[in-house]
Symmetry: C2
Subunit: 193 residues, 2 copies
Protein backbone atom coordinates (compact mmCIF):
# COMPACT_ATOMS: atom_id res chain seq x y z
CA UNK A 1 0.00 0.00 0.00
CA UNK A 2 2.81 2.37 0.94
CA UNK A 3 3.96 3.06 -2.63
CA UNK A 4 0.45 4.10 -3.59
CA UNK A 5 0.61 7.09 -1.26
CA UNK A 6 1.25 10.44 -2.94
CA UNK A 7 4.69 12.02 -2.46
CA UNK A 8 3.32 15.27 -1.00
CA UNK A 9 0.04 17.01 -0.23
CA UNK A 10 -2.04 18.03 -3.19
CA UNK A 11 -3.52 21.51 -3.14
CA UNK A 12 -6.86 22.29 -4.79
CA UNK A 13 -8.56 25.69 -4.86
CA UNK A 14 -12.17 26.64 -5.43
CA UNK A 15 -13.84 29.95 -6.26
CA UNK A 16 -17.33 29.85 -4.76
CA UNK A 17 -20.22 31.78 -6.37
CA UNK A 18 -22.89 30.26 -4.11
CA UNK A 19 -23.59 30.35 -1.20
CA UNK A 20 -21.86 33.69 -0.61
CA UNK A 21 -23.08 36.88 1.02
CA UNK A 22 -23.64 40.26 -0.60
CA UNK A 23 -22.88 43.71 0.87
CA UNK A 24 -26.03 43.52 3.01
CA UNK A 25 -25.16 40.11 4.43
CA UNK A 26 -27.80 38.26 2.39
CA UNK A 27 -26.98 34.86 0.87
CA UNK A 28 -26.78 35.16 -2.91
CA UNK A 29 -25.31 33.56 -6.05
CA UNK A 30 -22.80 35.77 -7.90
CA UNK A 31 -21.86 35.84 -11.58
CA UNK A 32 -18.58 34.43 -12.83
CA UNK A 33 -16.15 37.27 -13.64
CA UNK A 34 -13.99 36.64 -16.69
CA UNK A 35 -10.95 38.27 -15.06
CA UNK A 36 -11.22 35.99 -12.02
CA UNK A 37 -10.98 32.94 -14.27
CA UNK A 38 -7.93 34.28 -16.13
CA UNK A 39 -5.98 35.58 -13.16
CA UNK A 40 -6.68 32.66 -10.83
CA UNK A 41 -5.97 30.05 -13.54
CA UNK A 42 -2.55 31.66 -14.08
CA UNK A 43 -1.94 31.70 -10.32
CA UNK A 44 -2.97 28.03 -10.05
CA UNK A 45 -0.49 27.13 -12.79
CA UNK A 46 2.28 29.24 -11.19
CA UNK A 47 1.88 27.73 -7.74
CA UNK A 48 1.38 24.11 -8.78
CA UNK A 49 -2.28 23.85 -7.73
CA UNK A 50 -3.83 20.56 -8.92
CA UNK A 51 -7.17 21.98 -10.03
CA UNK A 52 -8.92 25.34 -9.84
CA UNK A 53 -12.65 24.68 -9.41
CA UNK A 54 -15.17 27.32 -10.48
CA UNK A 55 -18.35 26.63 -8.51
CA UNK A 56 -21.61 28.12 -9.75
CA UNK A 57 -25.14 26.68 -9.41
CA UNK A 58 -26.57 28.54 -12.42
CA UNK A 59 -26.44 26.53 -15.64
CA UNK A 60 -26.20 29.58 -17.94
CA UNK A 61 -23.21 30.80 -15.93
CA UNK A 62 -21.46 27.46 -16.17
CA UNK A 63 -22.11 27.35 -19.92
CA UNK A 64 -20.62 30.84 -20.39
CA UNK A 65 -17.54 29.92 -18.34
CA UNK A 66 -17.20 26.73 -20.33
CA UNK A 67 -17.17 28.69 -23.60
CA UNK A 68 -14.47 31.03 -22.27
CA UNK A 69 -12.37 28.08 -21.13
CA UNK A 70 -12.78 26.25 -24.44
CA UNK A 71 -11.67 29.36 -26.35
CA UNK A 72 -8.36 29.36 -24.47
CA UNK A 73 -7.90 25.59 -24.38
CA UNK A 74 -8.96 24.63 -27.89
CA UNK A 75 -10.07 27.70 -29.85
CA UNK A 76 -8.19 30.64 -31.30
CA UNK A 77 -6.83 31.52 -27.84
CA UNK A 78 -4.86 28.27 -27.65
CA UNK A 79 -2.68 29.16 -30.65
CA UNK A 80 -2.69 32.90 -29.94
CA UNK A 81 -1.41 32.42 -26.40
CA UNK A 82 -0.12 28.93 -25.47
CA UNK A 83 0.80 30.08 -21.95
CA UNK A 84 -2.84 30.93 -21.31
CA UNK A 85 -3.78 27.49 -22.65
CA UNK A 86 -1.49 25.89 -20.05
CA UNK A 87 -3.18 27.88 -17.28
CA UNK A 88 -6.71 27.04 -18.45
CA UNK A 89 -5.91 23.32 -18.33
CA UNK A 90 -6.19 23.72 -14.54
CA UNK A 91 -9.81 24.94 -14.55
CA UNK A 92 -12.87 22.76 -13.87
CA UNK A 93 -16.48 23.93 -13.56
CA UNK A 94 -18.82 22.42 -10.97
CA UNK A 95 -22.32 23.25 -9.80
CA UNK A 96 -21.78 22.87 -6.07
CA UNK A 97 -19.15 22.38 -3.42
CA UNK A 98 -20.17 18.84 -2.52
CA UNK A 99 -19.36 17.73 -6.09
CA UNK A 100 -15.88 19.19 -5.71
CA UNK A 101 -15.29 17.49 -2.38
CA UNK A 102 -16.51 14.17 -3.80
CA UNK A 103 -14.23 14.45 -6.83
CA UNK A 104 -11.16 15.17 -4.69
CA UNK A 105 -12.08 12.33 -2.34
CA UNK A 106 -12.41 9.91 -5.26
CA UNK A 107 -9.12 11.00 -6.82
CA UNK A 108 -7.16 10.73 -3.56
CA UNK A 109 -9.06 7.97 -1.70
CA UNK A 110 -9.20 10.48 1.13
CA UNK A 111 -11.51 13.35 2.14
CA UNK A 112 -9.79 16.71 1.59
CA UNK A 113 -9.01 19.04 4.47
CA UNK A 114 -11.37 21.93 3.79
CA UNK A 115 -10.01 25.40 4.50
CA UNK A 116 -12.11 28.53 4.05
CA UNK A 117 -10.75 32.04 3.52
CA UNK A 118 -12.32 35.39 4.41
CA UNK A 119 -11.48 39.02 5.09
CA UNK A 120 -13.06 39.23 8.55
CA UNK A 121 -12.34 36.05 10.46
CA UNK A 122 -11.88 36.31 14.24
CA UNK A 123 -11.02 33.73 16.89
CA UNK A 124 -9.09 30.52 16.37
CA UNK A 125 -7.56 30.59 12.90
CA UNK A 126 -5.05 28.57 10.92
CA UNK A 127 -2.02 30.71 10.06
CA UNK A 128 -0.61 30.75 6.53
CA UNK A 129 2.70 29.59 7.96
CA UNK A 130 0.94 26.68 9.69
CA UNK A 131 -0.82 25.67 6.49
CA UNK A 132 2.45 25.89 4.53
CA UNK A 133 4.13 23.55 7.02
CA UNK A 134 1.16 21.16 7.03
CA UNK A 135 1.13 20.94 3.22
CA UNK A 136 4.86 20.20 3.17
CA UNK A 137 4.82 17.64 5.96
CA UNK A 138 1.81 15.42 5.32
CA UNK A 139 0.02 13.62 2.51
CA UNK A 140 -3.55 14.88 2.76
CA UNK A 141 -5.33 16.64 -0.07
CA UNK A 142 -6.21 20.25 0.78
CA UNK A 143 -9.10 22.25 -0.63
CA UNK A 144 -8.82 26.00 -0.15
CA UNK A 145 -12.08 27.89 -0.79
CA UNK A 146 -12.28 31.55 -1.80
CA UNK A 147 -15.59 33.42 -1.78
CA UNK A 148 -16.87 35.96 -4.30
CA UNK A 149 -19.24 38.80 -3.35
CA UNK A 150 -18.62 39.78 0.27
CA UNK A 151 -17.44 36.34 1.29
CA UNK A 152 -18.38 32.71 1.92
CA UNK A 153 -21.75 32.13 3.66
CA UNK A 154 -21.73 30.83 7.25
CA UNK A 155 -23.21 27.46 6.31
CA UNK A 156 -19.98 26.65 4.43
CA UNK A 157 -17.63 28.37 6.88
CA UNK A 158 -19.10 26.36 9.76
CA UNK A 159 -18.56 23.02 7.98
CA UNK A 160 -14.88 23.67 7.17
CA UNK A 161 -11.99 21.97 8.95
CA UNK A 162 -10.16 25.28 9.32
CA UNK A 163 -10.58 28.99 8.76
CA UNK A 164 -7.43 30.64 7.37
CA UNK A 165 -6.14 33.86 8.93
CA UNK A 166 -7.32 36.96 7.06
CA UNK A 167 -4.90 39.18 5.12
CA UNK A 168 -4.25 42.19 7.34
CA UNK A 169 -3.15 45.41 5.71
CA UNK A 170 -1.36 48.31 7.34
CA UNK A 171 -4.34 50.39 8.42
CA UNK A 172 -6.99 47.74 8.85
CA UNK A 173 -8.19 48.09 5.24
CA UNK A 174 -9.38 44.64 4.14
CA UNK A 175 -11.13 45.06 0.82
CA UNK A 176 -8.94 43.27 -1.68
CA UNK A 177 -10.23 41.75 -4.91
CA UNK A 178 -10.60 37.99 -4.49
CA UNK A 179 -8.03 37.66 -7.31
CA UNK A 180 -5.53 39.56 -5.18
CA UNK A 181 -6.32 37.46 -2.09
CA UNK A 182 -5.65 34.26 -4.06
CA UNK A 183 -2.29 35.67 -5.18
CA UNK A 184 -1.19 36.63 -1.67
CA UNK A 185 -2.37 33.43 -0.01
CA UNK A 186 -0.90 31.04 -2.60
CA UNK A 187 2.43 32.86 -2.34
CA UNK A 188 2.34 32.50 1.44
CA UNK A 189 1.38 28.82 1.61
CA UNK A 190 3.16 27.20 -1.35
CA UNK A 191 6.86 26.47 -1.11
CA UNK A 192 8.22 27.12 -4.61
CA UNK A 193 11.89 26.66 -3.72
Amino acid sequence: MRDRLPKASKLYIALLHYPVINKDGKVVATAIANMDVHDIARLAKTYGVETFYLINPIEAQRKLASQIIDHWRKGYGATHNPFRKDAFEKVEIKSDLSEVVEEIRALNHCKPQIIVTGANFQGELLSCRGLREAIKSNYLPYLLIFGTGSGIADEIVNQADHRLESIRGKDGYNHLAVRSAVAVILDRIVDTT
Copy 2:
Protein backbone atom coordinates in the same frame (compact mmCIF):
# COMPACT_ATOMS: atom_id res chain seq x y z
CA MET B 1 17.43 69.04 10.28
CA ARG B 2 17.03 65.68 11.95
CA ASP B 3 13.37 66.13 12.91
CA ARG B 4 12.50 66.88 9.30
CA LEU B 5 13.47 63.38 8.26
CA PRO B 6 10.56 60.98 7.73
CA LYS B 7 10.07 58.23 10.32
CA ALA B 8 10.36 55.39 7.78
CA SER B 9 10.81 54.76 4.07
CA LYS B 10 7.94 55.74 1.85
CA LEU B 11 6.89 53.28 -0.82
CA TYR B 12 5.47 54.43 -4.16
CA ILE B 13 4.38 52.15 -7.00
CA ALA B 14 3.91 52.85 -10.69
CA LEU B 15 2.14 50.94 -13.45
CA LEU B 16 3.95 51.71 -16.69
CA HIS B 17 2.10 51.72 -20.04
CA TYR B 18 5.05 53.14 -22.03
CA PRO B 19 7.78 52.21 -22.80
CA VAL B 20 6.93 48.51 -22.48
CA ILE B 21 7.44 45.62 -24.85
CA ASN B 22 4.80 43.54 -26.60
CA LYS B 23 4.84 39.76 -27.22
CA ASP B 24 7.24 40.27 -30.16
CA GLY B 25 9.70 42.33 -28.11
CA LYS B 26 8.76 45.63 -29.79
CA VAL B 27 8.47 48.81 -27.71
CA VAL B 28 4.82 49.90 -27.51
CA ALA B 29 2.32 51.89 -25.44
CA THR B 30 -0.46 49.80 -23.88
CA ALA B 31 -4.00 50.78 -22.92
CA ILE B 32 -5.03 51.27 -19.29
CA ALA B 33 -7.07 48.26 -18.09
CA ASN B 34 -9.91 49.18 -15.74
CA MET B 35 -9.32 46.08 -13.60
CA ASP B 36 -5.65 46.99 -13.08
CA VAL B 37 -6.67 50.36 -11.64
CA HIS B 38 -9.22 48.81 -9.26
CA ASP B 39 -7.15 45.89 -8.05
CA ILE B 40 -3.87 47.77 -7.67
CA ALA B 41 -5.53 50.76 -5.95
CA ARG B 42 -6.99 48.35 -3.37
CA LEU B 43 -3.58 46.70 -2.93
CA ALA B 44 -1.89 50.10 -2.54
CA LYS B 45 -4.39 51.00 0.19
CA THR B 46 -3.98 47.62 1.92
CA TYR B 47 -0.19 47.74 2.00
CA GLY B 48 0.19 51.42 2.93
CA VAL B 49 1.68 52.56 -0.40
CA GLU B 50 1.91 56.38 -0.55
CA THR B 51 0.75 56.78 -4.16
CA PHE B 52 -0.08 54.45 -7.05
CA TYR B 53 0.98 56.20 -10.27
CA LEU B 54 -0.67 55.25 -13.55
CA ILE B 55 1.75 56.25 -16.30
CA ASN B 56 0.42 56.60 -19.84
CA PRO B 57 1.64 58.98 -22.58
CA ILE B 58 -1.66 59.03 -24.51
CA GLU B 59 -3.93 61.90 -23.52
CA ALA B 60 -7.18 60.07 -24.37
CA GLN B 61 -6.09 57.20 -22.13
CA ARG B 62 -5.30 59.51 -19.24
CA LYS B 63 -8.66 61.23 -19.69
CA LEU B 64 -10.51 57.91 -19.60
CA ALA B 65 -8.64 56.81 -16.47
CA SER B 66 -9.37 60.17 -14.88
CA GLN B 67 -13.11 59.70 -15.49
CA ILE B 68 -13.01 56.24 -13.90
CA ILE B 69 -11.14 57.58 -10.89
CA ASP B 70 -13.52 60.53 -10.47
CA HIS B 71 -16.51 58.18 -10.56
CA TRP B 72 -15.14 56.30 -7.56
CA ARG B 73 -13.76 59.32 -5.71
CA LYS B 74 -16.55 61.82 -6.21
CA GLY B 75 -19.32 60.34 -8.34
CA TYR B 76 -21.93 57.67 -7.66
CA GLY B 77 -19.20 55.16 -6.83
CA ALA B 78 -18.08 57.16 -3.79
CA THR B 79 -21.42 56.72 -2.02
CA HIS B 80 -22.10 53.27 -3.46
CA ASN B 81 -18.78 51.89 -2.20
CA PRO B 82 -16.83 54.08 0.26
CA PHE B 83 -14.08 51.44 0.57
CA ARG B 84 -13.38 51.78 -3.14
CA LYS B 85 -13.28 55.58 -2.67
CA ASP B 86 -10.57 55.13 -0.02
CA ALA B 87 -8.52 53.01 -2.42
CA PHE B 88 -8.91 55.42 -5.35
CA GLU B 89 -7.55 58.29 -3.21
CA LYS B 90 -4.15 56.62 -3.75
CA VAL B 91 -4.19 56.88 -7.56
CA GLU B 92 -2.44 59.59 -9.59
CA ILE B 93 -2.17 59.76 -13.39
CA LYS B 94 1.04 60.93 -15.07
CA SER B 95 2.20 61.06 -18.67
CA ASP B 96 5.75 59.78 -18.15
CA LEU B 97 8.08 58.26 -15.62
CA SER B 98 10.30 61.33 -15.27
CA GLU B 99 7.30 63.32 -13.99
CA VAL B 100 6.73 60.68 -11.31
CA VAL B 101 10.38 60.67 -10.26
CA GLU B 102 10.38 64.49 -10.08
CA GLU B 103 7.22 64.56 -7.98
CA ILE B 104 8.60 62.03 -5.49
CA ARG B 105 11.91 63.90 -5.34
CA ALA B 106 10.11 67.21 -4.66
CA LEU B 107 7.89 65.68 -1.96
CA ASN B 108 10.78 63.98 -0.14
CA HIS B 109 13.71 66.31 -0.93
CA CYS B 110 15.45 63.17 -2.10
CA LYS B 111 15.61 61.16 -5.34
CA PRO B 112 13.70 57.87 -4.99
CA GLN B 113 15.45 54.53 -5.23
CA ILE B 114 14.04 53.14 -8.48
CA ILE B 115 13.32 49.44 -8.56
CA VAL B 116 12.01 47.68 -11.65
CA THR B 117 10.12 44.38 -11.70
CA GLY B 118 9.92 41.76 -14.43
CA ALA B 119 9.16 38.11 -15.03
CA ASN B 120 12.47 37.18 -16.69
CA PHE B 121 15.31 38.93 -14.90
CA GLN B 122 18.66 37.14 -14.70
CA GLY B 123 21.93 38.07 -13.04
CA GLU B 124 22.40 40.28 -10.00
CA LEU B 125 18.99 40.98 -8.51
CA LEU B 126 17.58 42.54 -5.36
CA SER B 127 15.68 39.94 -3.33
CA CYS B 128 12.23 40.72 -1.92
CA ARG B 129 13.62 39.97 1.53
CA GLY B 130 16.46 42.44 0.93
CA LEU B 131 14.04 45.15 -0.20
CA ARG B 132 11.79 44.52 2.80
CA GLU B 133 14.74 44.98 5.16
CA ALA B 134 15.93 48.09 3.31
CA ILE B 135 12.49 49.71 3.49
CA LYS B 136 12.30 49.02 7.22
CA SER B 137 15.79 50.18 8.04
CA ASN B 138 16.33 53.41 6.12
CA TYR B 139 14.56 56.64 5.23
CA LEU B 140 14.75 56.76 1.45
CA PRO B 141 11.69 56.96 -0.78
CA TYR B 142 11.29 53.86 -2.98
CA LEU B 143 9.58 53.72 -6.36
CA LEU B 144 8.65 50.22 -7.51
CA ILE B 145 7.75 50.03 -11.22
CA PHE B 146 5.52 47.34 -12.76
CA GLY B 147 5.24 46.94 -16.51
CA THR B 148 2.14 46.16 -18.56
CA GLY B 149 2.29 44.23 -21.86
CA SER B 150 5.21 41.81 -21.79
CA GLY B 151 7.26 43.96 -19.45
CA ILE B 152 9.25 47.15 -18.97
CA ALA B 153 11.44 48.22 -21.92
CA ASP B 154 15.24 47.99 -21.55
CA GLU B 155 15.75 51.76 -21.61
CA ILE B 156 13.93 51.99 -18.26
CA VAL B 157 15.31 48.75 -16.80
CA ASN B 158 18.86 49.91 -17.50
CA GLN B 159 18.35 53.24 -15.68
CA ALA B 160 16.97 51.66 -12.50
CA ASP B 161 18.91 51.41 -9.25
CA HIS B 162 17.85 47.78 -8.80
CA ARG B 163 16.04 44.97 -10.57
CA LEU B 164 13.82 42.95 -8.23
CA GLU B 165 13.97 39.16 -8.29
CA SER B 166 11.25 37.62 -10.49
CA ILE B 167 8.39 35.59 -9.02
CA ARG B 168 9.29 31.95 -9.60
CA GLY B 169 6.50 29.41 -9.74
CA LYS B 170 6.75 25.69 -9.22
CA ASP B 171 7.35 24.56 -12.79
CA GLY B 172 9.00 27.60 -14.28
CA TYR B 173 5.67 29.11 -15.39
CA ASN B 174 6.02 32.89 -15.18
CA HIS B 175 2.98 34.39 -16.84
CA LEU B 176 1.06 36.08 -14.04
CA ALA B 177 -1.25 39.06 -14.57
CA VAL B 178 0.53 42.25 -13.52
CA ARG B 179 -2.26 42.67 -10.92
CA SER B 180 -1.22 39.34 -9.38
CA ALA B 181 2.47 40.25 -9.43
CA VAL B 182 1.72 43.49 -7.56
CA ALA B 183 -0.20 41.51 -4.92
CA VAL B 184 2.59 38.97 -4.38
CA ILE B 185 5.42 41.51 -4.33
CA LEU B 186 3.71 43.99 -1.98
CA ASP B 187 2.91 41.14 0.41
CA ARG B 188 6.56 40.06 0.33
CA ILE B 189 8.15 43.49 0.82
CA VAL B 190 5.78 45.34 3.17
CA ASP B 191 5.87 44.53 6.86
CA THR B 192 2.23 44.81 8.01
CA THR B 193 2.83 43.55 11.54
